[in-house]
């Protein structure tokens, strides 16, 4: 057994151990923190699968943004756990549930072991058509060209989620802002970071989005990094979020999918059809759409994390 194999096995054990711990953790808050650690470990597994784009996304979204969301929720829900006695399950039910789950996992594990190697793949098809997109990163080509429809609709999913979250506001809070109020006096390390990090983060985010055409990275990962900067600034209470009825905010929210749709429709007239790019200018068009998507993602993710508007709009306190 080589060192790398031992490390792989160690990583798998660690991932499963942390996952089991988040289920068993006594404290809700501890479970949420465990989930963040789990997400980071999982992105290492993705690195080992040679899926760097997924690893970046998992680290940014699966662990990072989801983690902030879950930890914030766990803090606000402190004291709601453990549940009432009426919701405690009998041991027999637990055993039955465990048996069922072992059976499911067993069937899947058998499927994994029997899987053909090499398995069926679309990699040659992607390789054959990659040149037509002008891109170097095959994953970006799938996301932005071959399966562009999925990607466009995924942005619509995000917008619907924002509308869903906003719809949970109290009626009198509509038109107000979400999240904590900004502080009058800024001090402490968080404020310091909140003022220092964003310029660096923005540069790195633009870089990630830009190189995504040819290397691991892309609109989503870049947008997520920008979103993280926005969240740090909001959480450090340096600025407050914009009110939900601001027109510019709405425009930024829909910019990504709207530009995707617009260029997609132009494809009817000047290319092979909806979501087709004209020969030769596919790459600049894709980068153009991605720029708008980065903007939308950077707006959507923090809005989903800070939740519905929750107070009448006020000036600086």
């Amino acid at each position: 057994m080589t060192v790398i194999e031992i490390l792989d096995i160690g990583l798998a054990v660690l991932v499963l151990g942390v996952a089991a711990w988040t289920i068993a953790a006594r404290e809700l808050f501890a479970a949420a923190v465990g989930y963040v650690a789990y997400g980071l470990l999982l992105s290492l597994v993705w690195v080992r699968l040679f899926a760097l784009d997924v690893a970046l996304t998992e680290a940014a979204i699966g662990s990072g943004v989801t983690g902030v969301l879950l930890i914030t929720a766990a803090m606000r829900l402190r004291g709601t756990d453990p549940p009432q006695a009426s919701e405690q399950l009998r041991p027999m039910v637990r055993v039955a549930a465990a048996t069922l789950c072992i059976a499911i996992a067993g069937v899947l594990a058998a499927g994994v072991l029997m899987m053909a190697d090499p398995g069926p793949t679309l990699a040659p098809d992607v390789a054959r058509h990659l040149g037509e997109t002008g891109l170097g990163n095959p994953v970006t080509a799938v996301l932005m060209a071959f399966r562009a429809f999925d990607t466009m609709l995924e942005k619509v999913v995000l917008i619907l989620a924002v509308i869903g979250v906003w719809s949970l506001a109290a009626d009198d809070a509509w038109g107000s802002v979400a999240g904590p109020r900004p502080l009058a006096h800024h001090q402490g390390p968080l404020t310091f970071f909140a003022q220092l990090l964003p310029p660096v983060g923005i540069v790195v985010a633009v870089h990630i989005a830009w190189v995504g055409a040819n290397e691991p990275g892309g609109a989503f990962q870049g947008g997520a990094l920008l979103a993280a900067m926005a969240m740090i600034v909001l959480m450090a209470r340096v600025v407050q979020a914009p009110a939900v009825d601001r027109r510019w905010l709405r425009v930024v929210l829909v910019a990504g999918p709207a530009m995707f749709l617009l260029i997609g429709m132009i494809g009817f007239a000047v290319a092979a059809g909806f979501l087709a790019y004209p020969d030769g200018i596919a790459k600049p068009l894709i980068l153009f759409i991605e720029a708008f998507m980065v903007l939308s993602i950077a707006a959507v993710l923090p809005l989903l994390v800070i939740g519905p508007p929750n107070r009448p709009q006020a000036g600086p306190p």
Partner: protein, 106 residues
């Protein structure tokens, strides 16, 4: 055993763990955590497909990788919506129980 097979087995175990948690844990936030465990297990199944489909100069099939990226974003949106619902429920009712009152006759 290759890293891919190991990741696939990890995914299978995560699916089992996630379903177990969803079945036995009552707190909605814990259910949501388990939904995310389950989801990432499913994504790892795509991951092993991608790795075993490495061909034509790519270490892994790009199509399942792209699907997972879309999937992660969708799972995050779902989590955000559910958390918002849960917090609003707690805010308005002071509890987080999912037992509906409608099932009982009035």
């Amino acid at each position: 055993m290759t890293a891919a097979t190991l990741a696939g087995l990890t995914g299978a175990a995560l699916v089992g763990l996630g379903v177990y948690g969803l079945l036995v844990l009552a707190h909605p936030l814990r259910k949501l955590l388990c939904f995310n465990l389950l989801g990432s297990g499913v994504f790892l199944m795509f991951g092993i497909l991608a790795r075993k489909g490495g061909a034509a100069g790519f270490a892994a099939d790009p199509v399942p990788q792209a699907l997972v990226i879309t999937g992660i974003v969708v799972a995050f949106s779902a989590t955000a919506l559910a958390v918002a619902l849960l917090l609003r429920l707690f805010e308005t009712s002071g509890t987080v129980t999912l037992n509906p009152d409608e099932q009982r006759p009035e």
